[in-house]
């Protein structure tokens, strides 16, 4: 006998642990439906927080170093979204239906524009709105969606279907875990991109 009893015991133990582990994993994965875009957005809707702090870095061929901003992202059902930049300057975009209120302290501008005039913004808004309202159909109508990874660690790749969207956005890449979005990367066709990192909960410094 090359393999003595103790070794056999040890192997059994490892096997047991392995089995146990896969069983626990299965216990998490099994009850829910297969991991699909529908399942993801349903989860996103369920675990949505009213407000999230974000940090965003913009990488551009025009720049020698990325530009960073910090602020708050809010979503008020059914369709109001707000992106408020608080640092290094204060600027706000409030999107209600098809209207966008744009307010900039530094440029001393406060005006309302139509979402229609800004296809890039429109695709972006559509992605968010559909994700956070659990509307997978809408999301898949505007974007070609590719979901990879597991429920614990997933990436969602969105590519605009319409030409107008394509001219502004190459792709939007969401990464996250469970019903929480960790990063949103947007890449434009010329290679410039921005990466937004979402932090759970409102940061104490964030004020409307």
């Amino acid at each position: 006998m090359i393999f003595g009893r103790p070794l056999r015991k040890a192997l059994t133990g490892v096997l047991f642990v392995l089995l146990l582990d896969s069983a626990t994993l299965a216990a998490v994965d099994m009850p829910s439906a297969p991991w699909t875009v529908e399942a993801l957005v349903a989860l996103l809707k369920e675990q949505r927080e009213p407000s999230m702090a974000f940090e965003e870095a913009t990488y551009s061929s025009l720049l020698t170093e990325p530009l960073k901003v910090r602020g708050q992202l809010r979503f008020t059902p059914p369709a109001t979204m707000e992106k408020a930049i608080t640092d290094p300057f204060r600027e706000r975009y409030v999107i209600e239906g098809e209207r966008v209120l744009f307010e900039s302290e530094r440029k001393k501008i406060k005006r309302t524009i139509s979402l229609e005039d800004y296809p890039a913004l429109r695709s972006f808004v559509a992605a968010f709105r559909a994700s956070f309202t659990g509307d997978a159909a809408q999301l898949q109508k505007v974007y070609e969606t590719t979901l990879d990874g597991t429920r614990r660690q997933w990436t969602l790749l969105l590519r605009p279907r319409e030409k107008t969207g394509q001219s502004m956005v190459d792709y939007i890449l969401f990464t996250g875990s469970e019903g929480r979005v960790a990063t949103i990367a947007i890449r434009s066709p010329d290679g410039d991109r921005s990466v937004m990192t979402l932090l759970p909960g409102a940061s104490p410094g964030a004020v409307r």
Binding site: L62, L67, F89, E116, S188, D192
Partner: protein, 773 residues
């Protein structure tokens, strides 16, 4: 016999010649603008040019409804694309690409001449620093991808500023890239036709094409409907309506008249013969109008033929005086002095139309005058020769003479009616004169409502309020425009106007552009300012080389004028906002949403800006029509005086003037009072019809007061008069049934006038001249 054949042959030859001219040489126009006057003041001329050829007249508003918003979007995109491809339109707007690529390139290339922000210190290190920081903000914003490509060449953001100015005029809401009504029930489009709005034929063809294009859209859901509005649509509808109405009205009227004539004379021959003067008159009228004006308008033709219906009176007089004893030429000779006087005075009446200076009325006047004279001459020299020698007319009812005698006992009623009518007019609440032209518009209420609604949704001006800036050169006008820009902005801030479209906001004067060029720094200065401004900012090295090049070339670039924009959508806009007319230049500034017209008028006067005036087009066009009306009234009054003189000479007695003129004048007053009591105010077109009534009245009165021998003769004259007035009442009574306000006005005035003239003429028939009296 030979002589008789010769005359008839001569007439036949003349008619053949006339008909040949009519069919080959006469050009019939349908453009309503051809009937509009030139205007006497510069403002009126401008207004009329705007109406004729201006952008306001060339715009068609389109809407697609009857589907889901997404289907409407799809249809609008497809429709817009196909319409653009036809090349029939200067502009097809549906919200997609507000400015074409060519336009944008031109604006980008010329940004330092066009931007209002370019001044001496616009390119200092501080100003540049400020601009650069803003560009960093732009890059950080969600809109970065839109503005990114302009940053290296335009770090101060002039281009985006100009663009915002150019496209800031759009009012319609958008849904998925195309214009939509607020409730997403309609996709909206605007097209600008090359053809003028008043060119009804061209407009009809264009609108037909638009409908066809819409019907043929691929994958169009069957439920989608196309709505169309705008001056061109109204012009086409009006034309169709007038044509349709004139057709059935004239068919109905001529059928009735022919039937009535047959009933009166029981002779097909006489009915056919009565067509000789009428047809001669029509041919003569057409040839005369075409000879004088170079064309005849379709409307002149329609109205003119109706108007010439009165020449039927001439053969009727002849037929009524035919009797067994004398031949037709003898009967004609007997009544000719009376008829001649009647023709002469009627012709004088219609000449007033010729002198009124209004092309529409002048054509009508010439048509009537030429037609009347030709018809009278043919009745005198040709018609009697055509009446069969052995013809015995039907005996006229003998009861007419005593009835008239009864009637003349009430002669006091005529002046009484005139006095009553005068007082009624003086005390009436209904204004005597119509000053609002719109009430005569044949456009339906539903059509007007749709137009208003679409204009509201599209944010298109309804082209009533204009600021007019005039000057000897385009440059002067542009400078004056720049001078009032701040004041206009003030008006907008006060809410007196919601918006304006001023040429100077798009195209700066040469002076301003040169001043901007001179304030641009030299390359070395700019480069060093930029170097200072860039310190510590994370822009890639050498990024702004295009900016340095652009400023340098702008310093020597040739300044822009209207010509530079030729062939672009912007060029069209400039062409409509800045027009040259008889060596003078005018900027037309459409104002949107005027809150208080009188106050706006005062405000503009208070600016004391030279060459700048506020024009309320509605007010102005009403004033224009009123001026022509007053002139027509004045000419007609002088005409009446001349008629009275001619009558006095012709009748060789002033005493006879009273029974001849009084019935006609009373009839005018009574008809005016009657119309007024019905709530109708008088317009230019009523005045024109009054001239017809004057002619009829004189004709009737002259025959009523004709000295005659026997009761038989008297009865024939009276019978003839009855038939005459009855045919007139029939023709115009039918016209009074028209739904078109204009035709209704003419019809009711003439029919009531004819009746009153007959009644009053009969009442005042000179007893002393009649042997029975």
């Amino acid at each position: 016999m030979i002589q008789r054949l010769g005359v008839v042959a001569l007439w036949a030859a003349a008619m053949a010649c006339g008909l040949w001219l009519v069919t080959t040489k006469v050009s019939v126009h349908s453009e309503l603008a051809d009937l509009l006057p030139e205007g006497t003041t510069a403002t009126q001329r401008l207004l009329l040019t705007q109406v004729r050829t201006g952008i306001a007249g060339r715009i068609l508003l389109l809407a697609i409804e009857g589907g889901e918003p997404d289907a409407l979007v799809q249809a609008s995109r497809e429709f817009g694309q196909q319409l653009r491809a036809t090349g029939q339109f200067d502009v097809v707007g549906n919200g997609e690409q507000a400015l074409a690529k060519l336009d944008k390139e031109l604006l980008f290339r010329s940004r330092y001449l066009l931007s209002r922000r370019v001044s001496l210190d616009a390119f200092s290190a501080d100003a540049l620093r400020h601009g650069l920081e803003q560009r960093l903000d732009d890059l950080r914003s969600p809109l970065a991808s839109l503005v990114k490509e302009t940053i290296p060449g335009d770090p101060t953001g002039e281009f985006l500023d100009i663009l915002a100015g150019w496209s800031g005029q759009e009012g319609a809401e958008k849904y998925r890239g195309v214009w939509m009504s607020g409730d997403h029930a309609r996709a909206l489009l605007v097209v600008e036709t090359r053809a003028a709005g008043f060119d009804a034929d061209a407009q009809a063809a264009i609108q037909q094409d638009i409908r066809k294009t819409f019907e043929a859209l691929p994958d169009r859901p069957a439920s989608l409907r196309l709505l169309m509005s705008g001056p061109g649509v109204f012009a086409v509808k009006t034309k169709h309506r007038i044509e349709a109405e004139v057709w059935w009205l004239s068919t109905a009227a001529s059928t009735l008249v022919l039937l009535f004539l047959f009933a009166s004379y029981r002779s097909v021959t006489l009915v056919l013969l009565s067509l000789i003067p009428l047809s001669t008159g029509i041919v003569a009228g057409i040839v005369a109008v075409n000879g004088w004006f170079g064309f005849i308008h379709g409307i002149t033709l329609g109205f003119g033929i109706t108007l010439l219906g009165i020449v039927d009176d001439y053969p009727i007089h002849l037929f009524s005086h035919l009797h067994a004893r004398g031949s037709a030429p003898v009967a004609m000779r007997a009544i000719w002095p009376t008829m001649r006087l009647g023709v002469l005075t009627t012709v004088m009446g219609f000449s007033s139309l010729l002198l009124a200076g209004f092309p529409a009325l002048a054509q009508l006047g010439l048509f009537a005058v030429a037609g009347l004279i030709a018809a009278a001459l043919v009745t005198r020299w040709v018609l009697p020769l055509c009446v069969p020698a052995a013809f015995t007319p039907r005996a006229v009812p003998r009861g007419i003479v005593p009835t008239l005698a009864q009637l003349s006992k009430a002669r006091w009623l005529v002046p009484a009616a005139a006095i009553l009518a005068t007082f009624a007019l003086l005390w009436s609440d209904t204004p005597l004169w119509q000053t609002d032209l719109a009430s005569l518009s044949p456009v339906s209420e539903a059509g007007k409502r749709l137009d208003q609604q679409l204009r509201g949704e599209l944010g298109a001006p309804d082209v009533r309020d204009l600021l007019v800036i005039e000057g000897p050169t385009a440059e002067d006008v542009l400078q004056r425009g720049e001078a009032v820009m701040a004041q206009l902005e003030q008006l907008r801030a006060e809410g007196l106007v919601a918006g304006y479209d001023l040429v100077s906001t798009y195209l700066p004067s040469r002076r301003s552009q040169q001043a901007r060029q001179q304030s641009l720094p030299e390359r070395s200065v700019l480069a060093s300012n930029l170097q200072i401004a860039l310190a510590g900012l994370p822009f890639a090295p050498g990024l702004f080389a295009p900016f340095l090049d652009a400023v340098e070339s702008a310093r020597t670039q040739s300044v822009l004028d209207r010509e530079a924009f030729r062939g672009t959508a912007l060029g069209l806009k400039l062409a409509t906002l800045l027009v040259e007319q008889q060596g003078r230049w005018t900027a037309v500034v459409p104002l949107r949403g005027v809150a208080d017209r009188p106050r706006l008028g005062e405000a503009v006067v208070a600016w004391q800006a030279s060459g700048v005036a506020y024009v309320d087009l509605k007010e102005e066009s009403n004033r224009l029509m009123t001026a022509y009306r007053d002139r027509t009234v004045a000419v007609a009054a002088w005409g009446l005086l001349a008629i009275a003189v001619v009558l006095a000479v012709g009748l060789r007695s002033v005493a006879v003037l009273w029974p001849v003129l009084m019935p006609m004048l009373s009839a005018l007053l009574v008809v005016a009072a009657l119309l007024n009591a019905m709530g109708e105010s008088l317009s230019l077109f009523h005045v024109a019809t009054f001239l017809l009534v004057i002619g009829l009245g004189l004709d009737y009165a002259l025959f009523f007061n004709r000295p005659e021998g026997a009761d038989d003769d008297r009865a024939r004259t009276l019978y003839g008069l009855l038939v005459c007035s009855m045919t007139t009442i029939l023709v115009f009574g039918v016209l009074a049934c028209s739904m078109i306000p204009l035709l209704h006005a003419i019809g009711i005035t003439a029919a009531a006038g004819s009746f009153c003239c007959l009644l009053f003429g009969g009442m005042m028939a000179g007893r002393e001249l009649s042997p029975n009296g």
